[in-house]
């Protein structure tokens, strides 16, 4: 049987030839993402905004009366609710954001939830409550701080680790690639106004993790080639390293995508946001490892002298091992 080769042998794509235009576009995308976050805002779910989200089934109806539900809940005077289909056609999720006036009142979310459920129960005889999330303004504020802290600490800790294992330029490069990934993911959430909640933070950390996988594989090869080809110009060496690891990059991204696709299509409704974010994040992360993490090393001044002190000793060990082997 002939085995599949996703990337032909001796592929040599000049990735770095267009590094400047790519960088310009990427930096513009990062700026655009943050601008979108600032103007459009993120569609915070109850985890971060406070308020309540009710999931319900209309047991006797083929389709949920979305418009009527919106009207019933809207008439309570807590602003216009977000009513979305959730799972089956007769299931909905109804989200009411905590009004600003009562953000300080820690029992407001609970009270509003009771009112919403009460009004729906009396209005629709086949209303069945499947679940609800009520988060007070105080708790949602804490979640928000914790999430920001988690992202920040994770990025710094990872950059520190890479600095220790490689050189400082690699740490900065990886950090920049992560910043790119996080920015673009936030930008996506701002454009499509997808619900941004605690699981989104989990998604972003997963994206960070897997983007970093790619970055490390490329960096590891760069380190190896820097020792191997002392005289090679850096852009050429970076291209070589990216090309050598390209087969792996494509294959791993592909396995991740095929594993996640069924979850996106057939998985639980509640996981759709998480899966979609990771799915899109894989593209962003793969791109950033090639186009953000690698070229930045040129500008940060990585050259054949990097890894020299480490190298002489390693070399000796390797030579000795080769002699023995």
């Amino acid at each position: 049987m002939k085995l599949l080769k996703l990337v032909p042998d001796d592929t040599n794509i000049k990735f770095l030839k267009y590094r400047i235009p790519f960088y310009v576009v990427s930096v513009l995308l990062i700026v655009a993402s943050w601008a979108l976050v600032a103007t459009n805002g993120l569609n915070y779910g109850v985890d971060f905004a406070g308020g309540q989200e009710v999931r319900a089934t209309f047991t006797e109806s083929a389709e949920a009366p979305v418009a009527e539900v919106r009207e019933t809940v809207g008439s309570l005077g807590y602003g216009s609710p977000v009513v979305q289909r959730f799972g089956e056609p007769n299931q909905v999720s109804i989200r009411v954001r905590l009004p600003d006036e009562v953000a300080e009142d820690k029992e407001a979310a609970q009270r509003i939830a009771n009112e919403v459920v009460g009004s729906l129960e009396s209005e629709f005889s086949d209303f069945r409550l499947d679940g609800n999330d009520n988060v007070s303004g105080k708790v949602s504020g804490e979640f928000f701080t914790q999430a920001q802290l988690a992202l920040l600490v994770a990025m710094l800790a990872i950059a520190l680790y890479i600095w220790i294992r490689f050189e400082w330029q690699f740490g900065v490069g990886a950090l920049f690639a992560l910043f790119h990934d996080v920015s673009l993911t936030l930008g996506m959430f701002a454009i499509f106004q997808m619900e941004f909640n605690l699981t989104t933070i989990a998604a972003i950390l997963a994206i960070i993790g897997y983007s970093l996988n790619d970055t490390i594989v490329v960096y590891d090869r760069i380190r190896e080639n820097l020792k191997k080809y002392r005289k090679m110009p850096i852009p050429e060496l970076l291209d070589l390293s990216v090309n050598e690891t390209l087969a792996r990059t494509v294959m791993t991204s592909l396995t991740l995508l095929v594993a996640l696709l069924p979850l996106l299509l057939f998985g639980p409704e509640a996981l759709f946001g998480l899966t979609a974010a990771i799915f899109l994040g894989i593209f962003v992360g793969t791109y950033s490892s090639v186009y953000m993490a690698a070229p930045i090393l040129i500008w940060l001044g990585v050259d054949s002298h990097s890894f020299v002190p480490e190298e002489t000793e390693l070399d000796r060990q390797e030579k000795a091992a080769r002699h023995l082997g």
Binding site: D9, K138, A150, Y161, L212, A259, G267
Partner: protein, 537 residues
């Protein structure tokens, strides 16, 4: 690298087997099948299902530190006035104030100051480790005594209140008869309550939201109706609102602040019906000391009205027609059967020492959870098949090894989760799928490297050996960084998101074990047996 002596092979297989067997009960639990009894006797530790999968309610309760502070001040004021009245000769005090969180009062005769101090000092207790007291006593201007609560004393009081609150919450939930509730104190002033498999948390919330502090206070009959309505209390009195549903709903009533008794010394409380009106009521029974105090209160105030107060709201204000000496009383106040029953449960389990507010609630119906498990397992199955197909088509025999490793990996994660008694949540299922996609990365790295080494002309064994060796570095670094991200997600995340982090982190370890160690053993065994001259990779 490719040397696997027999003891090492046995050890690796043994480890794999143990981790996989540990997953058996969890497998039955997840697929909703009955776990056979003979197996149950030997090993029955299954992974916990998070509330988002099992269905149930997660409720976060919070107490207010300022409320504890206010209560302490009030109790201290009562104790001080009682002590001063009881002193022989009596010490006269005036101008009592609780402003700024301190209790201050004037001692009318300056010669009594030292005597007062001697009497008040025993009312304070030690707090903290440094020999601090829970209150500091200061005398200013020779006559004014100021009692200030210390920080250590407040910490201790909040801590005590929360400990009692946890106990009360536990008793109330037990009274509902739900199965396996989890009640944990969180931080300084919070309690997490998790009750699995509850369809309607309404009753639970009603029970937890009720402080159930029952008081009997004399009605201030001299208060003018206009003042009471305007909310102006005479000195020594306070204005309380009526409870919803009672005769006083929407109205207010003036009661004497001190001199009442608390209903915290009950031995029993039952829902019942009033024999005359057939209205739902709650019958309470005092313990002996409470009964005596109740008898004294009613005996000394015959023909005066007294208010029955629940959580600072007036339920009713009957006239005391005759002393009540039997130690029992009937409470009415516009109850429904359900609310009377809830009140009886709350009174039996004791009053909460502080009000608890529900600051977060997450409830998932049991059906929704089971649907999620089913569709999650389906997605996981299809995803695995696709990954397996891709790996085998790309790497042939080496792809087979990785897919067997992948299957073992998934089972091992479940097994280790069961052994560590962790919780599988809905995002945890996404974690599984993500791990399936990512676990093969190690194999992809190794296999691609072997391909490269062959292309460079290395012989089979050297190529395999180098493939594993050179790829290990990147695998190691990538896993450490992912571990950092996973641990931080666990530390900062909450509830379901933590479940995601748990699966990711355990998956990192099992992935390295299965994808690197196990496949290397299999490849080594195959190479030794067949001694192939070429690799089909």
């Amino acid at each position: 690298m490719l040397d696997f002596p027999q003891w090492r092979r046995i050890w690796l297989w043994g480890l794999t087997l143990v981790a996989c067997l540990a997953a058996v009960p969890s497998f039955f639990a997840l697929t909703g099948q009955d776990y056979p009894d003979p197996l149950k006797a030997t090993y029955d530790q299954s992974v916990n299902l998070g509330l988002d999968l099992a269905g149930g309610s997660h409720i976060l309760l919070e107490a207010e530190r300022s409320q504890v502070a206010a209560q302490r001040l009030e109790t201290m004021e009562e104790s001080v006035t009682a002590e001063m009245r009881r002193a022989d000769p009596r010490i006269r005090i005036g101008d009592v104030s609780r402003r700024d969180g301190r209790l201050s009062f004037m001692i009318e005769n300056p010669v009594d100051v030292d005597r007062a101090r001697d009497l008040i000092e025993p009312l304070t207790t030690g707090a903290g480790l440094t020999g601090q007291r829970d209150w500091t006593i200061r005398v200013v201007d020779g006559q004014r005594m100021i009692l200030t609560p210390t920080e250590a004393g407040m910490d201790m009081a909040v801590n005590n209140a929360m400990e009692t609150a946890v106990e009360v919450v536990r008793k109330r939930i037990d009274a509902l008869g739900t199965r396996e509730p989890t009640i944990i104190r969180q931080g300084d002033n919070r309690i997490v309550v998790q009750v699995p498999g509850l369809q309607d948390p309404g009753e639970l919330k009603a029970l937890l939201g009720q402080t159930a502090s029952l008081e009997f206070k004399l009605v201030d009959v001299e208060a003018s109706a206009a003042d009471t309505q305007a909310g102006i209390a005479r000195p020594g009195s306070q204005i309380l609102p009526g409870a919803p549903g009672s005769d006083y709903e929407g109205a207010t009533l003036a009661v004497r602040r001190l001199g009442g008794i608390k209903g915290d010394t009950l031995t029993d409380a039952r829902q019942s019906f009033d024999p005359q009106t057939n209205e739902p009521v709650v019958n309470i029974t005092f313990d002996s000391s409470g009964g005596q105090r109740f008898a004294k209160l009613t005996r000394e105030n015959v023909n005066r009205p007294f208010a029955i107060i629940l959580d600072d709201q007036v339920l009713s204000a009957p006239n005391i027609n005759e002393p009540i000496l039997g130690g029992t009383a009937q409470i009415s106040g516009g109850f429904t059967v359900e609310s009377a029953n809830n009140l009886a449960i709350s009174l039996r389990s004791g009053a909460l020492p502080v009000d608890l507010a529900i600051v977060e609630e997450r409830t998932v119906g049991p059906d929704l959870g089971q649907d999620s498990i089913e569709s999650g397992i389906l997605a996981m199955g299809i995803g695995s098949l696709l990954v397996i197909l891709l790996m085998v088509v790309t790497y042939g025999r080496f792809g087979m090894y990785s897919t067997v490793a992948l299957a073992i990996n998934v089972v091992m994660i479940l097994g280790i989760m069961a052994i560590l008694n962790t919780t599988l949540t809905l995002p945890g299922i996404a974690g599984f799928v993500l791990t399936i996609g990512a676990a093969v990365d190690a194999n992809v790295l190794i296999n691609e490297r072997i391909r490269e080494e062959r292309k460079r002309g290395r012989r089979v064994v050297a190529a395999v050996e180098n493939g594993y060796k050179e790829a290990s570095r990147a695998i190691y670094d990538a896993n450490v960084t992912n571990f950092i991200a996973g641990v931080l997600l666990f530390l900062f995340g909450s509830g379901p998101v933590r479940g995601f982090a748990v699966v990711l982190v355990i998956g990192l370890f099992t992935s390295v074990f299965t994808a690197v160690v196990l496949t290397r053993m299999w490849v080594a065994m195959w190479l030794r047996k067949k001694r192939p001259s070429d690799l089909h990779i």
